[in-house]
């Protein structure tokens, strides 16, 4: 443990923590999206999937994932705040004129897209996991008493501002991944002339896939394809 602490004190240590937790969070987002795309296969399919996730036998896995994600998120956020403060300290006086050649908008807004996504995440959990916020009225339950995931998603997205907020958050998430998915390869030192070109390509591919896959759901609801 003391080893981790002294390692974490260095900025590269913090960056490694951000990279590793970032990968874990990305994998969750990917899996979460893949699961939820089952909404296109109908109400029964999605609700069966939701029920399976909440079944007794799946509970240990569910809670492991929740704990790992929670810890990853906390570490990711704490490290990012510490690093940002460090960065501000490194340039006490700003430039009057500044031009960028390479540093793209996604990279330079990580510290903005991050917190916005975090706020969205809180809302997202309150709306669809715990049901504390119900923009459409009631938290729908099935006859068996289990939450009716399908109805809750559809009813929620039929409220235009819920869909809009969701779409904006997912696009910001895409920006965040655009830089993050490339950046972690550098931080962990995964650099090789043979596949350096591929790193940017894969990062772009996954970030586009996630944005399209996630946005498809509210758009389908708004268009009336899913009801």
């Amino acid at each position: 443990m003391s080893w981790f602490v002294s390692y974490y004190r260095t900025t590269v240590g913090k960056k490694v923590v951000m990279a590793v937790t970032g990968i874990l969070l990305f994998l969750f987002v990917l899996g979460h999206m893949a699961g939820n795309l089952q909404i296109f296969m109908g109400k029964d399919q999605l609700n069966a999937y939701a029920a399976a996730l909440h079944s007794q036998s799946f509970a240990p896995i569910l809670w492991t994932v929740r704990v790992v994600m929670g810890l990853s998120l906390i570490l990711h956020v704490v490290a990012s705040i510490q690093l940002t403060v460090h960065s501000w300290n490194s340039r006490p006086q700003k430039y009057a004129k500044i031009r960028y050649r390479e540093a793209d908008i996604a990279a330079r807004t990580m510290i903005l897209s991050g917190p916005i996504i975090a706020f969205f995440l809180i809302y997202h959990i309150l709306q669809l996991t715990t049901g504390n916020i119900q923009p459409s009225g009631e938290f729908a339950l099935q006859a068996s008493g289990a939450p009716d995931a399908y109805t809750n998603v559809v009813a929620g997205f039929q409220v235009w501002w819920v869909s809009l907020g969701y779409i904006v958050a997912v696009i910001l998430l895409g920006f965040h991944f655009y830089h993050g998915l490339w950046s972690w390869t550098q931080t962990l030192g995964w650099d090789h002339p043979k596949w350096n070109g591929l790193r940017r390509g894969l990062a772009t591919f996954f970030c586009v896939a996630i944005v399209i896959g996630d946005i498809a759901i509210p758009l389908a609801v708004l268009a009336g394809w899913i009801k």
Binding site: Y7, K15, R91, P92, Y95, A96, H179, G189
Partner: protein, 254 residues
């Protein structure tokens, strides 16, 4: 050509931009020669000339450096400011000239900064230990051509500090990584390789430089076009070293 210059003037802690008119500038002048002419005028008028760093004026010593219209070393890629010529500017253009801005580079006066932090980083680990005496034969230890090439690419670093100046985090990582890569590709660099990564990176932090967010801005302004691949290598060495890998090479858990 005629130019309007906004130059950062600083004496002591606080500075400000002062406007100057540069008249009849020849397009064949270098940027520093243009400032020399301005300084002559200022001296004749009894004013204090603009202080700026320079030495070789051949783009090889790394002494010069200023941020011109938001870009370290100015608009021409892969060039130091001493090798930048006025033909890259337009008649009537307004130019903003600032010093490197970083906690690690205190401003001494006007455009002149104290870059000795970079020397202290080198002292912390950017060297190899050899017995002095007669120079060893160059071919005594064979080095694969490809490794020698990559090592030499990194060795091109002249320590000008443009990477720090351009980095939104004020990070010196490209400078540090260039040295780690330069020595890390060579057999002579192996004995201290792991300790070097730890020492140089932690020293850079101590000196007040930021960390690397992989903006790649440093690579784009580096007058020697040093690649951020070197940073990935430095990170790799640092990670392996702090996992205790290569204890024989000076690696140890932090």
């Amino acid at each position: 050509m005629n130019l309007t210059l906004n130059i950062w003037r600083q004496k002591g802690k606080i500075g400000k931009f002062v406007k100057y008119q540069a008249k009849d500038v020849s397009e064949h002048m270098s940027f520093l020669e243009m400032l020399d002419v301005l300084n002559q005028e200022l001296i004749l008028k009894g004013e204090e000339p603009v202080h700026f760093d320079h030495d070789c004026r051949e783009g090889i010593c790394g002494t010069c450096g200023m941020v011109i219209n938001g870009l370290p070393h100015g608009p021409l890629k892969g060039t130091t400011v001493c090798q930048l010529h006025m033909r890259h500017f337009k008649d009537g253009q307004e130019i903003w000239i600032e010093p490197w801005r970083s906690r690690g580079f205190p401003i001494l006066k006007d455009l002149m900064t104290d870059k000795s932090a970079l020397d202290r980083i080198i002292q912390s680990g950017g060297f190899i230990t050899v017995r002095t005496g007669q120079a060893a034969k160059a071919e005594a230890i064979p080095v694969p051509k490809s490794d020698a090439e990559l090592s030499m690419d990194a060795a091109e670093c002249i320590g000008c500090g443009a990477c720090v100046a351009s980095c939104p985090n004020g990070s010196a990582m490209l400078f540090v990584a260039a040295k780690i890569t330069h020595l890390g590709f060579l057999p002579q660099g192996q004995p201290e390789r792991m300790q070097r990564a730890i020492n140089m990176i932690t020293k850079a932090e101590e000196e007040g430089f930021g960390f690397c967010s992989n903006y790649a801005e440093c690579e784009a302004v580096c007058p020697k076009n040093i690649s951020i691949s070197t940073i990935a290598r430095a990170n790799r060495d640092f990670i392996r070293a702090s996992f205790g890998y290569g204890a024989g090479k000076g690696g140890k858990a932090l």
